[in-house]
Symmetry: C2
Subunit: 379 residues, 2 copies
Amino acid sequence: MISQNKPPVWYEQLKVCKQSGARLGIVHTPHGSFETPCFMPVGTQATVKGLSPEEVRSTGARIILSNTYHLWMRPGSEIIRRAGGLHKFMNWDGAILTDSGGFQVFSLSDLRNITEEGVGFKSHIDGSKHVLTPEKSINVQNDLGSDIVMAFDECTPYPADENYALRSLERTTRWLERCIKEHSRPKDQALFGIIQGSTYAKLRKQSTREITAFDLPGYAIGGLSVGEPAQLMNAMLEEVTPLMPEDKPRYLMGVGSPDFLIEGSIRGIDMFDCVLPTRIGRNGTVFTNNGKLIVRDAKYADDFTPLDPECSCPVCRNYTRAYIRHLIKAGEMFGLRLTSYHNVWYLMAHMEKIRDAIREDRLGDFRDEFYSRAGSFRR
Amino acid sequence: MISQNKPPVWYEQLKVCKQSGARLGIVHTPHGSFETPCFMPVGTQATVKGLSPEEVRSTGARIILSNTYHLWMRPGSEIIRRAGGLHKFMNWDGAILTDSGGFQVFSLSDLRNITEEGVGFKSHIDGSKHVLTPEKSINVQNDLGSDIVMAFDECTPYPADENYALRSLERTTRWLERCIKEHSRPKDQALFGIIQGSTYAKLRKQSTREITAFDLPGYAIGGLSVGEPAQLMNAMLEEVTPLMPEDKPRYLMGVGSPDFLIEGSIRGIDMFDCVLPTRIGRNGTVFTNNGKLIVRDAKYADDFTPLDPECSCPVCRNYTRAYIRHLIKAGEMFGLRLTSYHNVWYLMAHMEKIRDAIREDRLGDFRDEFYSRAGSFRR
């Protein structure tokens, strides 16, 4: 920032892992600070599915993600603004990042129609017609009052031909300019730009140069983890992160599998988000230090051990696989609370291990140990 | 008890309300004591729907009810026995009362066939055939290890003709004898007998005499709150409770609406249970000091007040009607947690007010005040 004042969100680097190049840092926001690399649980509709804000906080989470598209459609950003903003509405006093709604209008709505102006779409709730533009996305996020506001981008699908990917990333750059112009609360909400470019190294570099040319408090990498092979994602990260400013947080959107959290950290990413822990939890699948475990399976009917005997979370201290399986088979809500909580806790503990490994210059070793034990997380 | 030793569950009377005749007391169990009159939240399938055991405890509940039928069908009482009993299985260290499964085989299963031996039925889960007998019900409850075991009775439906009701109550008495004989853990599990007799004063008195002739640690009144008019229920209670021993707890089965909790207390009842608070909570309806409130209603979309401004529960301290309505409309589990929690808290607070009114000899006044404010609770 040219200004003498710190932006509302800023990055403090603590060290770089000598073995892997991963960054250890702290991101400061108007609603508290958090160590990075960090994972952000997703609270799409102003709630992390199944969990109370107190429970989310007790897992160690200090920032969550919520969704512009969903909250705009229901209950409407006007209601949340009048409630005193999203933090107050949902009783979460930690930091909040809101995505722009771009990804959702592409993935959830019918009959979308992309123009330079924005995206016309039909609501997934009632079929009503709407247009989401860069300006509208920022207006909604200004109403929500999130600490980190994401620019409205076009999330290029995978696969995309190079010509489409080029037009798409250039539009994302023009839309970012409109977002910056529209943003009415730059002093208490930090706008992050989003790098696109699909799986083309040349385009990723072009987008990184264009987006980071805007002096913003942070930058995200979008359009990855959308179905491309892992190697391709890693290759793209290796093109992009070296070109990103070192003094700003870097956010890789939509990544939450334990292996990718390590791979992303090694390539210089600071922030991640994904619905994975709560989504698989609701399906009766949990993370453990030995890989995934499907607790619904019949073999756990009389297994009186915890979900993960190495885990120190309250679920693993108090409940058995047999009980949790019973709850899920019986359709009891509490079963999904327990699996969701454990999974979020697991990822928080996983990030803590990643940060400890960076602190001790051994994240490469940590990766190797992780793959040898929990190999089943590999795609 | 003839024995010098106290039974596993025993009643200590503190006082009788001079204005209403209601009893204030304490019931002692192997898993702690609780003041009466009390309400027991229902955890049908080894979980009070939507709530954690810690949350249930934080509402003030010290005893919950669970179901022999459901737990026998799934996960099976053998699994719970091997888990170390129901308390350990579900992580609840307070008292547990289990019903006998009688009510459930009548109300949930298809093709039931009642004989002197027991009830043949098909499981509501997979249609498999089973026979529930007094012996089997007690065996299952001995496996579960509940503090209070209910006798296997025939819950006479309403309406029933007098002849059927007579045969039914006499069978219930014979079944009680078999339950007592089968009960293998009388030192740490208290068996309660159940009074039947439908809506016939003469039969209710006969059943009360027959059931209380067995020296048991407590007695319940069944076959009420099954669709009969409120006046008829009150009239039956007035026939029955004067004949019940004063030194044993009295449990009115299946009653949980706030008005009936007052009416039952006035007629000498000590314990109540009902699925009402969690069931209506899951439908988006909550108790308040001014009557029921359907928080799903559109008029609460921008209502930023608590569910009940007079309530001091954590839900009312931290969340608004607008937020809870949003969660319910969006199909979010957390909304049902919040309404369920508030409703259980409300009934616990309601029972505390009833106990305070007994302590101060003004339960009759309390009833009048209650009806004048929360009239909509009347049937």
